[in-house]
């Protein structure tokens, strides 16, 4: 790719993106005001994911950029995900044999007031 081919994102596209982002922000607030039960977190994260993808693809121009940079970003995200999943593999599965008690002493003794509030 030569210098002359740097993609210039049209103002129209940029404007469309910022309006979408604004709308999605309103949507995520609205969704959080409703009680979606266990779907609250996934819905909020999905909307955030869409917003972030828009910023990355258009504002940061990754859609028009060369593939290596997209690969770099993908690797970074995958590793962050690995970090999260492997830590949760420990913290959410403690006490799966008789060797450890689940939770901490403080939790079992002191969480009660929070739940009965």
């Amino acid at each position: 790719m030569s210098h002359a081919e740097h993609h210039i994102v049209p103002i129209k596209t940029l404007t469309a993106v910022i309006l979408t982002l604004g709308m999605l922000t309103i949507l995520t607030v609205a969704a959080s005001q409703m009680d979606l039960g266990s779907f609250n977190v996934p819905v909020a994260m999905c909307i955030a994911g869409i917003k972030a993808s828009l910023v990355i693809a258009i504002f940061m121009g990754l859609r028009y950029d060369n593939g290596t940079n997209a690969l770099i970003l993908a690797i970074g995200l995958v590793l962050a995900f690995v970090f999260l999943v492997f830590v949760l593999l420990d913290t959410n599965f403690r006490g799966d044999t008789s060797a450890t008690q689940s939770g901490t002493i403080m939790e079992t003794e002191q969480l009660a007031p929070a739940q009965t509030r």
Binding site: T97, S98, A99, T100, Q101, T104, I105
Partner: protein, 306 residues
């Protein structure tokens, strides 16, 4: 496999130890065979193909496909065997039998305390009956520690504010060494304990006699050694020596003086930082605040006799 174990490993004295050892030696010998083969090949090639003439230029060798496959497939099979085997041993090490006799273990800088089902406690001396599964429920009061008995091939970290557990079943009577293997400060290396494996009847008898009342000074002498007070307070520079201290005048680091009476001794045990003797920093952990009044009285009575 005598008194001193089997060369690479110490004596195997628990029901799982033999399995751990078999796995250890399998891995060790397999590794050694491959290692000797690899290094042997290296030495042979080094001699056989040494440069005889400065101008020689060897032609490249294309290693055959079957060879490449072999040294990927064979090690993979070997490590999978070792993994599966290790997994089985791990599950056994991790899962205490349901009818285990449970003992509570408390770790603190720098001693171990064991509490039995009838409320008897002992410090740095763990008594267990032979041939019975023992489950230790462990927690720490300050920092991380780790409970390690080489003869039983068991180890588990001891964590504040959480209970971890480990189990074993001793196969023979005797005394076995306990180490702390998670670095925990100045006297980490002195945080030792002994497991006394005794017969069932001896164990019951021991448990029963522990409830007897000792004279305070004797109880104190026992505690003084159990809690390893002697490590820092007798003939070392770590903490102030205690010989002849009672009733004497102590110079403190803030310049004032104080008479070493019962009150002073009590305060110094429970809250070591309150009055520091001149020339010493605060090294002593505050964990002794959890001692009972009787134990404290005993310690003070013993210190008076020094």
């Amino acid at each position: 496999m005598g008194e001193n174990g089997s060369g690479w490993l110490p004596e195997a004295m628990s029901t799982v130890a033999a399995e751990v050892d078999a796995l250890f030696y399998f891995t060790l010998y397999t590794s050694t065979i491959i290692f000797v083969a690899v290094i042997g090949a290296m030495i042979y090639f080094g001699i056989r193909f040494r440069r005889r003439d400065e101008s020689e230029v060897p032609t490249p060798v294309h290693e055959p496909k079957w060879l490449e496959m072999t040294w990927i497939v064979v090690p993979t099979i070997l490590v999978m065997i070792v993994f599966t085997w290790g997994f089985k041993v791990f599950v056994k090490l991790h899962t205490a039998p349901p009818d285990s006799y449970e003992i509570t273990v408390r770790a603190a800088q720098w001693y171990w305390e064991f509490e039995y089902d009838n409320g008897v406690t002992s410090a740095n001396e763990l008594y267990v009956p032979v041939g019975k599964a023992i489950k230790l429920n462990m927690s720490a009061s300050d920092v991380l520690h780790s409970f390690f008995v080489p003869a039983f091939r068991i180890k588990m970290d001891v964590i504040p504010n959480r209970v971890t557990s480990v189990w074993f079943e001793a196969t023979d009577v005797g005394t076995y060494q306990v180490f702390c293997t998670e670095y925990c400060g100045t006297s980490h290396a002195a945080m030792l304990a002994t497991v006394h494996v005794v017969t069932d009847s001896e164990f019951r008898q021991w448990l029963a006699t522990q409830n007897q009342d000792l004279p305070p000074a004797e109880l104190g002498a026992q505690l003084f050694n159990q809690y390893t007070c002697n490590v820092c307070h007798v003939d070392t520079a770590v903490g102030p020596g205690l010989t002849g201290i009672f009733g004497s005048e102590r110079k403190l680091s803030d310049g004032t003086t104080v008479i070493a009476d019962e009150d002073y001794l009590l305060e110094s045990i429970v809250d070591p930082g309150a009055k520091l003797v001149e020339g010493y920093g605060l090294q002593m952990p505050a964990t002794f605040g959890s001692l009972t009044q009787k134990q404290l009285d005993g310690l003070i009575a013993y210190i008076k006799t020094l």
